[in-house]
Symmetry: C2
Subunit: 367 residues, 2 copies
Amino acid sequence: MAMLMRSLLPRVGILSPPVGCPRLIRCLSSAAVCPPARAAVYHQHGAPDHVLQLVEVEGRELLEGEVCVKMLAAPINPSDINRIEGVYPMRPPVPAVGGTEGVGVVVSVAPGVSKLKVNDWVIPSHPHIGTWRTYIAKEESAWCLVAKDVPEKYAATVSVNPCTALRMLQDIVDLKPGASVVQNGATSMVGQCVIQLARLNDLQTINLIRDRPDLDSVKERLKALGADYVLTEEELGSIDKKTLAGRAQAKLGLNCVGGSAATAVMKLLGEGGVMVTYGGMAKKPITLSTGPLIFKDLRLQGFWLGKWKSNHSDEEFSTMVNYLLRLVRDGKLQYAMDEVQFSDFDTALQKALGQQGSALKQVLIFN
Amino acid sequence: MAMLMRSLLPRVGILSPPVGCPRLIRCLSSAAVCPPARAAVYHQHGAPDHVLQLVEVEGRELLEGEVCVKMLAAPINPSDINRIEGVYPMRPPVPAVGGTEGVGVVVSVAPGVSKLKVNDWVIPSHPHIGTWRTYIAKEESAWCLVAKDVPEKYAATVSVNPCTALRMLQDIVDLKPGASVVQNGATSMVGQCVIQLARLNDLQTINLIRDRPDLDSVKERLKALGADYVLTEEELGSIDKKTLAGRAQAKLGLNCVGGSAATAVMKLLGEGGVMVTYGGMAKKPITLSTGPLIFKDLRLQGFWLGKWKSNHSDEEFSTMVNYLLRLVRDGKLQYAMDEVQFSDFDTALQKALGQQGSALKQVLIFN
């Protein structure tokens, strides 16, 4: 990926300096400003490692009601990749800055800003900000205040995957203590959160994972998080269901894979169980026979945090993320991440794209 | 199928005469009795045309609280076939009399019967009675009183397919006037009822049917019932969705086929639409991609009238069937059936099994 100076790029709206602020140095003396930034920008949809460019963006004076946020950390999520590829249903018009999630610190505020102040930590309230850049100027309402007593990488990653895990456990079916939840893709960040949030609520989890060379250590890691059962699809096929001691009657199933891994989840659902699909990593369809729908009363639905957000207030979103961050602070919620300097964006992107084998969640660190 | 006299069969509980009534003629003089009956019995599960036998069953004295019902008409439903084959989840122990639905007239009542009287029309409240026989002695609570002002064949067939159609339209999603419903298998009895009940509630229907030699006349017949659109899967694939004038945003989809016909139903669902599966005639699984589940909020569930009945009172069942029979009486609900004499059971069974090509619903008539 080439690193270009701003001047080499066509002048486009999102990157333009505001009118009346031709020289940053002049603005600094008279009004709140946002400094020049480095940003990962794409001008057209396509393979992220082809269309993304690290560019310099000029600074600009803040408009009334805006704050300037210096980004601290931002992850590369699969949905960010899909937005850049142009295959995600909700995506900003191009040109755009990549990234939707992250945490930053407020470094300056314009007149008219009432709630946020310098040194506050904030995360985007909505996914159209473009977080893969060092500084962002945006209206106050675009930000959600978060606690500062957690590692930056957690504040940067709380608003998508942990929220998805929490909502799916809370909103779909009434899970009484002792009830079982079955999920595939259990090593994913959502999967790890599901295990821990379920354990906090006295729920059992049956966790399906892909076979892999380090299978035993992965199983141990998930069990250390609170998983009751961890098994591969192959193991599920060969064991007597009674080995699961009646827990093969899950009320809730979570599917982020599709294909045979979704079938495996459905097999472990009990009468009236619901399988919620929130991803399709295998890029294979779900296949189900009609019998269990009719006679076992199985149900299938999807979950999309974007839709949840459009139906809930910013206050409800804030309450949720700060609840999750308190769990992080108290050592009740953790997940593995890989911190990478923003200057080493290419490497982080390659890892996120799976070009270097299975990799942890990549979290960009801005210094 | 062999026709055997009772004496050739092993003595089994359901067919045994009551103790203390060795000679029918003696009982007649002292208490209410049920006459000898002819019944279609199976002693083991298997292909219906192999395991069913028409046998003579001795009459017996009624026990306290029982009524004797002379059957008038009883259909052969696909679920009856599946029960005999042993593949239906809820089925009586063998030996058993075939059939679950039908209408009869009360011909005698024992002491302790409080609501039913001679000449009342009744249908079974629950599906374990075995309706393919000329006389049935059963406790009063096993029967549901129905109106006599409709043709026998409608009273005989109201309690499964029309009820399924009504419940699916009423209980799954909130359908405001003008909303659209899409269904496959639209020529089925449920399908025909859906068209008419939808029309009565100002709902639009998009009806998918199999291609067939008499396609145009079938389309005209369904449109005469109130169908807005009738098309084959092939036609659906070739037309511009706009031709459906925005109605390809159905809130409810009904699937009794599976396979590609289920995919076709899902294609015509709008945001948040629900596909309800109540049959799997194609014996092929449903295949769905993860995207529409997540981003279009599609939902899949099943419907089984047996489960509805187990959750509702006999009074609610009675209210429902008599509502539907009033629609029949008023000319608002009709469907094609083929009446066959019970003495010609073999032919009716062959037709119901599809051994004589596509056939109408077979309704046995008892004389």
